[in-house]
């Protein structure tokens, strides 16, 4: 089984979000970048396939050279090799088109990607990719088993789960549940040393037109400070929620 895991390089959740150049660019100054948490669940699931079912695991990122430390980290966790498509993408469709090219050339059976990235939260790349390359597609996957060529998965639906069956070739958009938080791996020293020697191939982008582009960013208006109500006066809270906030 040849697996490709798509990796986004995103600001750590605790990062301060600021914008520069007249609010047109995200300010990366002082921001710590990490493996997109949703992708990390998928990477860990891929490692299990590698260890228990003899799969090969390639990781890919569509981005500039600054994303390479994140790719190296995925190699330290255990991926076999990495690909970086050298373009700073403008939108999700562009990313999907670059990934489609990588999948076509690499002949992967299974593509794993987080259901969203923690920066732009677009939730579109896996579905676009699957449609572009005509792979089967399961979104919001919270459980995945593969026996031979039979794929069984669980996906989140409103108020529960749906068990689905499918076959290769397949794109899975995963989230917590495909593995649990406790299953995530921290690279050890040996992994880090080995990662230095693993191949990280830089490929040129096919470069397509973006379908959408961001004109500017803004931050939400600062919120009013909290209205405190005394603990022995819940009537006041109910009154505020009814007459002021109008939510009950």
């Amino acid at each position: 089984m040849k697996i490709l895991v798509c990796i986004s390089h995103v600001p750590d959740t605790t990062s301060k979000i600021n914008f520069i150049e007249n609010n047109t660019k995200f300010d990366t100054n002082g921001v710590q970048f990490v493996i997109n948490p949703y992708d990390e669940f998928c990477l860990t699931r891929a490692m299990w396939f590698k260890e228990k079912q003899g799969a090969s695991v390639t990781v890919v990122n569509v981005g500039g050279v600054e994303t390479e430390p994140t790719l190296r980290k995925t190699l330290a966790i255990g991926a076999d090799n990495a690909i970086r498509v050298n373009i700073t993408p403008t939108d999700g469709l562009q990313v999907a088109k670059e990934l489609a090219e990588v999948v076509r050339k690499g002949g992967y059976d299974l593509v794993l990607a987080g259901k969203e990235s923690a920066d732009y939260n677009g939730q579109m790349v896996p579905g676009m990719l699957a449609t572009l390359i005509d792979f089967n597609f399961i979104n919001g996957c919270v459980g995945l088993d593969i026996e031979g060529t039979a794929i069984s998965a669980s996906r989140e639906i409103d108020g529960g789960n749906e068990i689905v069956s499918s076959s290769f070739p397949m794109v899975i958009a995963g989230q917590k549940g495909i593995v649990e938080e406790k299953d995530l791996r921290i690279p050890n020293m040996r992994g880090i040393m080995m990662a230095r020697k693993k191949p990280l191939e830089v490929v040129e982008a096919i470069t397509t037109d973006a379908a959408t582009n961001v004109q500017s960013f803004e931050k939400p208006a600062p919120r009013e400070s909290v209205k405190l109500v005394a603990a022995d006066n819940v009537d006041e809270l109910i009154n505020l929620l009814h007459t002021e906030a109008k939510v009950i």
Partner: protein
């Protein structure tokens, strides 16, 4: 030219988001000087959508479409969009909507703006405001393609009555070969889902143990609310993972979010701050959640919650 809205239903009944996307689509159609076409699949009574501005309603009814399949549903949305030369396609941000939208966008060679929270500020270039960075920012995004797909963020536009007379026609879709087959649907019935709830009552480690959740469930029941929990609580196994809300859990965009004994870690806030009104009950006045909340009570949940239940019961009876 038209604006096409897909009004999603479950077991024949429209979801609340269906009324919201129709309300939104009607306004977009007005801005573009065109008509709104609404697609429904296996809905029992599509005519209720006229109340929110639906002009032309396309109904599909087919037993084989009883269970949602993204590829099949996307194919139907695509067929209807082409037939009605839709320039804008509006979908909701439910789990189904998010599954469909990227497929529809590629099918129609359309740009897709997910997490949209506003009407177009301009129709040429076509510009909408979207949420980004886990609700910590917005972006003004231009969709440059001829056809545009909009994923409307839940509870961002609201439901607006706009009674319209209109027509209805039946559409026979092409049934395609499915790549993903549904084997079993496991759904908890009889409770409000977090996705559909107007009010969510959520509790954290401050509750001290799973045995203390009775009062949280009772408070939720008084308010007709869904119950939720923080990540540590689901990690400890006090509550099922399906109740975990926050960054890696379920997103919440309810009208009212009540957080009890939750300190408000950044990852938690990232998942819930799309809720309109937030209420916090916590013993620690320094809990970070107080900085993100609208109303707060510094106090012990074990004293405050029972009082709240009692007073709310009285309030509901008035």
């Amino acid at each position: 030219m038209s604006v096409l809205v897909f009004a999603d239903s479950s077991e024949g009944k429209f979801k609340k988001t269906a009324f919201e996307v129709v309300s939104y689509g009607k306004k977009v159609a007005e801005q573009l000087g065109t008509t709104i076409v609404v697609l429904t699949i296996n809905a029992t009574d599509s005519s209720e959508l006229h109340a929110y501005g639906a002009e032309k309603i396309i109904t599909v009814s087919n037993e084989s479409l009883g269970t949602f399949n993204a590829k099949q549903y996307a194919s139907i949305v695509t067929e209807v969009a082409k037939q009605h030369t839709a320039t804008v396609v509006v979908l909701d941000s439910s789990i189904d909507g998010l599954y469909l939208a990227p497929i529809v966008a590629v099918n129609l060679e359309a740009g897709y703006a997910s997490n949209t929270v506003s009407l177009p500020s301009s129709t040429s270039p076509f510009t909408v405001k979207r949420k980004a960075f886990s609700n910590k920012a917005f972006s003004d995004t231009v969709i440059a393609t001829e056809t545009k797909v909009i994923g409307l963020a839940k509870n961002s536009f609201g439901i607006h009555e706009n009674t319209t007379t209109g027509s209805s026609e039946v559409f026979e879709p092409t049934i395609i070969e499915l790549g993903v087959l549904s084997e079993k649907v496991e759904r908890v019935t009889g409770t409000v889902t977090i996705a559909d709830a107007d009010v969510v009552v959520s509790a954290g480690r401050g509750l001290k143990g799973p045995e203390n959740w009775g009062m949280i469930e009772e408070l939720a029941s008084v308010l007709g609310a869904a119950t939720a929990c923080s990540k540590p609580v689901s990690d400890l196994g006090w509550r099922p993972h399906s109740e975990h809300v926050g960054q890696t859990g379920k997103p919440v965009a309810s009208n009212l979010y009540i957080a009890i004994g939750i300190s408000g870690a950044i990852q938690h806030l990232a998942g819930v701050n799309a809720s309109k009104v937030k209420v916090v009950v916590n013993t620690d006045p320094e809990a970070p959640f107080f900085k993100a909340a609208d109303y707060g009570i510094v106090g012990d949940a074990f004293e405050v919650v029972p009082k709240l239940i009692e007073k709310l019961k009285a309030f509901k009876q008035v």
